[in-house]
Symmetry: C2
Subunit: 359 residues, 2 copies
């Protein structure tokens, strides 16, 4: 039996080079080295530099590692919000970030958009005491995106507030302008095709200053994973705790592979594969893109409504070795979600698209 | 060139079956499966059951997964301490836990013992408002242990307080009586010989009740990794966030291997190997156990003072393919630390001991 290909929206199929990198890591005892050794510092440095180069992140920005992107939600609120945050909410994950701010005792405002749409930025109404605007660039539960143009408009309208961008399932595809935002984050088991267990947190000097200000005013910004603690260790190419060393190693290697392939090529391929999928969905009576406005349709997480039960579609594709995802939460049974990440080949995507078109 | 053997006190040499388990995991797409799938739930369940069986943890106790043991320090204080904690401090790691309680705004008391010794439990003086007693069963920085007898005495003296036991570098060797304590924790890169990036948190119903009580009184117990959130997901054999799936899989498999070998056998071997090392250290003019009282000498992290510079010893052993650790912090240059974990064979330990004895 051939191995299944996972086109689920995360975790998803491993990047095609991961297996070889893991074998090399075992040969090089990456799992045994001290996280205070020069060998680890070199891995840390390689991961940070490769991610910065791949994503065109300004040199003065920082990259820190956490256990998950979920953890980053908590750390952002603890470190960057004393009292008020504002969330653009259009699905389960943006809602979860909003809820975390509330759970941490902040006044968490939101602009709620219908699921399957993106927030209308003209409706944003933010009080002057608000500190952070949370944008879910790619809402994994619905496949709706907030455009880079909208993010730029928000930046211009609120230059003094911190802007946090959830790019969990759109990086490395999405070409974020890191000068238009203050912090962004992703988890490695989506577009980077790595085993889960690592969150990657990108932030600028304004975030450092804000966390230090909150600390100086005796706000509780957490302990080992506060921004000042991450920064102190990061300056030594280390982490405060013993981290997921193998995960950081694999990120370094896969980001290096993607650099070698070229980010432009990866982006072009992503757009081609997304077009193939949407074309199949658009032209079949049993399927319809959940996101009606083409401008807001995700290129990396393609979500379709279906007249059939999603279980049936998923199991029929699984029988062909193609594992796709169900709808999220309330949409479980009448939607399907298909990941279109860099590791997914044109041929695999075309097989899915051909099957959908033939229904 | 032969591969080096890591006898560093964590991360350390991988358990000898890990490489094969990783290869099987790659074949079975463990890195790609959804953390909401039945396949993941089976892995989660296997990890919990194997750890419970291996360590003889009562069936009604809970096991949760975090990113690191460092994270567990933070979660313990957030979830189990409203105002006051009491820490037995005799080295860098016990001090770090004490500091985390302070950083989170609690009144963090401590009984400070000299490094290289264990706290004299007769000196414990705890106010009645104290909620939790933190014991570092095996202080990785100094190789000093708090005995199981001392833990039992503390339990009897303070039946109403929660007792938290740091067994980061002594499990699975140490035969903790989980009925004498309320919570214990370890990280997988020590005695279990796994790649770092996973903390394992064992706790009883009293901890659940305490966290729920704090939540009901509007204390901030955190968000996705609060005890109630971990419990809610854990009941479904899931985690709140996308976890280190590969790490949980490897824990399940290695705990299973250790069950097959037998915990008694592992414990006997650990004691034999520790005796071999202490014998070499005791009988050589250049070395001396840092912990003077034999009762308080760790069987899993052997720490020796040396008249030579530790760098020299470490590099000479490294030339023989044996990587040991330096002293911790201020002891970096005049101490060595040697891990004696289940993966370290008698032959490897004897090679180290023979070399030390020949100095």
């Amino acid at each position: 039996m051939n191995k299944k290909v996972y086109l689920t929206p995360g975790p998803s199929e491993l990047y095609f080079t991961v297996e070889e990198h893991i074998k090399q890591a075992l040969k090089d005892s990456v799992g045994a080295i001290s996280h205070r050794s020069k060998a680890f510092e070199a891995i840390y440095c390689e991961a940070v530099e490769n991610v910065k180069n791949l994503l065109n992140i300004p040199e003065d920005h920082h990259i820190f590692f956490t256990g998950s992107a979920t953890e980053i939600w908590e750390r952002i609120i603890q470190n960057l919000v004393a009292t008020e945050s504002y969330h653009l909410v259009n699905g389960s994950f943006s809602e979860r970030f909003h809820e975390i701010s509330f759970q941490l005792g902040r006044t968490a405002h939101k602009l709620q958009a219908e699921e399957g749409t993106s927030p209308d930025i003209n409706k944003i109404l933010i009080g002057e005491n608000n500190e952070l605007i949370a944008i879910t660039q790619n809402e994994t539960s619905t496949g709706a995106v907030t455009t880079l143009e909208d993010i730029a408009v928000i930046r211009n309208a609120f230059p003094d507030m911190l802007i946090a961008v959830d790019a969990v399932s759109s990086l490395p595809y999405i070409n974020l302008d890191y000068n238009q935002i203050d912090t962004a984050y992703f988890s490695v088991q989506k577009g980077f095709g790595l085993p889960a267990g690592l969150g990657v947190w990108i932030l600028n000097e304004r975030c450092i200053a804000k966390a230090e200000e909150l600390a100086s005013k005796n706000y509780n910004i957490g302990t080992y994973h506060s921004i000042p603690s991450l920064l102190k260790s990061g300056k030594k190419n280390q982490t405060p705790e013993t981290p997921n060393v193998l995960g950081i190693y694999l990120l370094a290697k896969v980001a290096g592979d993607m650099l070698f392939k070229g980010i432009d090529q990866i982006r072009r391929e992503t757009e081609y594969k997304a077009a193939v999928l949407y074309n199949a969905i658009d032209n079949n009576q049993h399927f319809k893109p959940f996101v009606q406005n083409p401008v807001h349709r995700s290129k990396t997480v393609i979500v379709a409504e279906t007249t059939k039960n999603s279980k049936e579609i998923i199991s029929q594709l699984a029988a062909k070795g193609l594992e796709i995802g169900s709808g999220y939460g309330p949409y479980k049974e009448n939607q399907i979600r298909i990941a279109n990440f860099p590791t997914h080949s044109k041929e695999q995507i075309e097989m899915v698209a051909d099957w959908l078109a033939a229904q």
